[in-house]
């Protein structure tokens, strides 16, 4: 009875509090909106720089044909120019082509499927030529794609020169196609992130405020069981977490046609577990904060890195290895990963149980920390 009344009261307060609503719904809506509209889905062209000096005619033809590949945006220049452009980040890859890549009298039209096949009969196997590729590590993924395409072109040319029969017909363009749409990647992570924001900030701000204003002390002057009050606050926020997940997923599905697979009960379980974990963090932060002014400072130090390093906006596989090793175990990462697996791939319990175990482990640790640090009353002096 007490818990129910308190829960209803705090739900009312939650809904009336603009700050909580901002973190709970407004901000995630904006993220989904912005990133969903930008849509990183369209294949981006790869900036390819090409260095030649005085190429033989067939070499030049090969170089020109690269410009026909839609995935590339080709720029030609001297080696020093192109190296400088690479340094500046204007190129993903620079290809240094020897002038005699293809010997002059032979004309080999490259990049054409089973084309003319006018390659001259090679009496002896030609000596392998050195082609240098400079790749920009900042564009690791793009560079890799470019290298894959180029390697294939060279392989094909080699085969043609060697007159090997064509065993496979590959569509070069398919190399660059994205299988999963960005919004499908983004949405589950945003839901996880918004639960984190809601749980951490609403608890940390509200409880520190209650403590600072003496509201908690006033409550303790009643025969209320302190645990009832905490329970009502936790229940309130778990209800919010579930509602918020449903609203955000619904928004993504309706507006951006995002796919939502997976068992709703498993989604619910994951949301609740993640919610409890971050509520523990919220209570810990309010335990550590003497005043409401201290809350954003402490909370942001903890929450901000997680926000950007937990694979919400881009996969953690694009991060350096040492960093991956750290962020894999931060609370938000396994939570977001589990959500993405269930919602995006329809994964079942067995697939995500490792991630859920991490979330549960963090939940236990953070709730224990909350119990240790939490104070009902602000210490004076």
């Amino acid at each position: 009875m007490t818990i129910r009344t308190l829960t209803i009261a705090s739900l009312k307060m939650f809904v009336r509090n603009k700050q909580s609503l901002f973190f709970t719904l407004f901000m995630p809506f904006i993220f989904i909106g912005i990133f969903g509209l930008i849509g990183f889905d369209k294949p981006q062209t790869i900036d390819l720089g090409i260095v030649t000096r005085s190429p033989s005619a067939p070499t030049k033809a090969f170089v020109d044909s690269l410009g026909n590949i839609s995935a590339f945006h080709v720029t030609a220049g001297t080696e020093s120019e192109e190296r400088a452009a690479l340094q500046k980040g204007d190129r993903a890859v620079v290809l240094i082509v020897p002038d005699d890549l293809f010997p002059d009298p032979a004309a080999i039209p490259p990049g054409r499927e089973g084309g003319a096949g006018q390659a001259p009969a090679a009496k002896t196997a030609p000596k392998a030529k050195d082609v240098t590729i400079l790749k920009n590590v900042a564009y690791e993924q793009q560079a890799q794609t470019a290298i894959t395409i180029l390697t294939q072109l060279f392989d094909k040319t080699t085969l043609q020169v060697a007159k090997a029969p064509t065993l496979f017909n590959l569509d070069v363009q398919s190399i660059n196609a994205n299988k999963v749409r960005y919004i499908d990647f983004l949405l589950p992570g945003i839901v996880a992130m918004s639960i984190m924001q809601m749980a951490v900030f609403s608890v940390a701000f509200v409880f520190t405020d209650y403590k600072e204003k003496g509201i908690l002390k006033r409550l303790l002057a009643t025969p209320m069981k302190p645990l009832d009050f905490v329970a009502s606050q936790v229940i309130t926020r778990l209800l919010v977490a579930v509602t918020q997940s449903a609203v955000l997923l619904g928004f993504g599905a309706l507006v951006f046609k995002s796919h939502i697979y997976g068992n709703p009960l498993l989604i619910l379980l994951t949301v609740l577990l993640g919610g409890i974990m971050f509520l523990g963090l919220g209570f810990t932060i309010s335990g550590l904060s003497k005043t409401t002014d201290a809350v954003p400072a402490i909370a942001n130090i903890i929450v901000f890195p997680m926000l950007f390093l937990s694979g919400i906006f881009f996969p953690i596989s694009s991060m350096p290895n040492w960093l991956q090793g750290v962020v894999t175990y931060l609370p938000l990462q396994p939570f977001a990963k589990a959500m993405r697996a269930i919602i995006g791939d329809g994964a079942g319990f067995n697939v995500i149980k490792g991630d859920l175990a991490w979330v549960a482990g963090w939940a236990i640790v953070l709730v224990a920390l909350a119990v240790i640090t939490f104070r009902w009353e602000e210490k004076r002096m």
Binding site: L6, A9, N17, I215, L219, A221, T222, P223
Partner: protein, 305 residues
Amino acid sequence: MPDIITVTNLKKVYNDFTAVDSINFVVHQGETFGILGPNGAGKTTTLEMMEGLKGITNGTVVLDGKDVSTQGREVKNVIGVQLQSSSFFDGLNLKELIETFAALYGKTVDAMELLREVQLDEKVKSRVKELSGGQKQRLSIAVALVNKPKVLFLDEPTTGLDPQARRNLWDLVNQIKGKGVTIILTTHYMEEAEVLCDRIAIMDNAKIIALDTPTGLLKLADVGTTIECHTDQPAPVAELQKLPGVQQATAENHGFTLKTRQPEVALPALFTFAQQQSIILHDVQVHQATLEDVFLKLTGRKLRE
């Protein structure tokens, strides 16, 4: 009237600072009991130990037959509490706030009736932050009444209020007392203690230095009446001192003051003397002794510097 609260050897030590030093007193059922003292005297600490909000270092508080240390929840059930700096949830209106607090006692209340009692019925849909200082204090009294308490604790209920709001609150306190509720209040204001309280404990430096009815305390001070006059000439203090009924004459900046225990003798003698000497008396004021004088006499300090 029987005693409803018995405080025995009550002591509070913070680290090595003694905030309340082994105090003893009883509160009678139905009375308004005041604790008067300067800042830092230990009033709030005493109250919060009695309310079960602060740990007791030593001694006991028995309220309505229940020991606060061991039966905290039972005690909280029969008391109403207004804290020195009470504050409430901002996100609820007054009606919701009162109903929520009632739920904490497992009760339902008629919030409107309670708000009418403290003259806040027009504000039923308002939020706490929209209330004035006096209205906030009245609200916090209303909230303290949700469980129909036997004992109501008010910690400096009128501090920071203007005189009109203060008088308003005095009426409210007397009205609650009229219903048989025992009230314990703390204050810095002598006048307030005199007007509201049946008995007053004067607290200073963690100790109770006097406890009596207001009249009893005034007798204790043994200062009688003060007559204050402004004059044009310097006051002939030596002659004034000899007037019948006058105990002590003191020269002041623009006149003099006389202390007397028999104003009915001293005043006519003063007027006759002034006529004979052609002394023009401006602004003749007669003061009864106040608790301020009592405090000064007991401690050698003014209550509020």
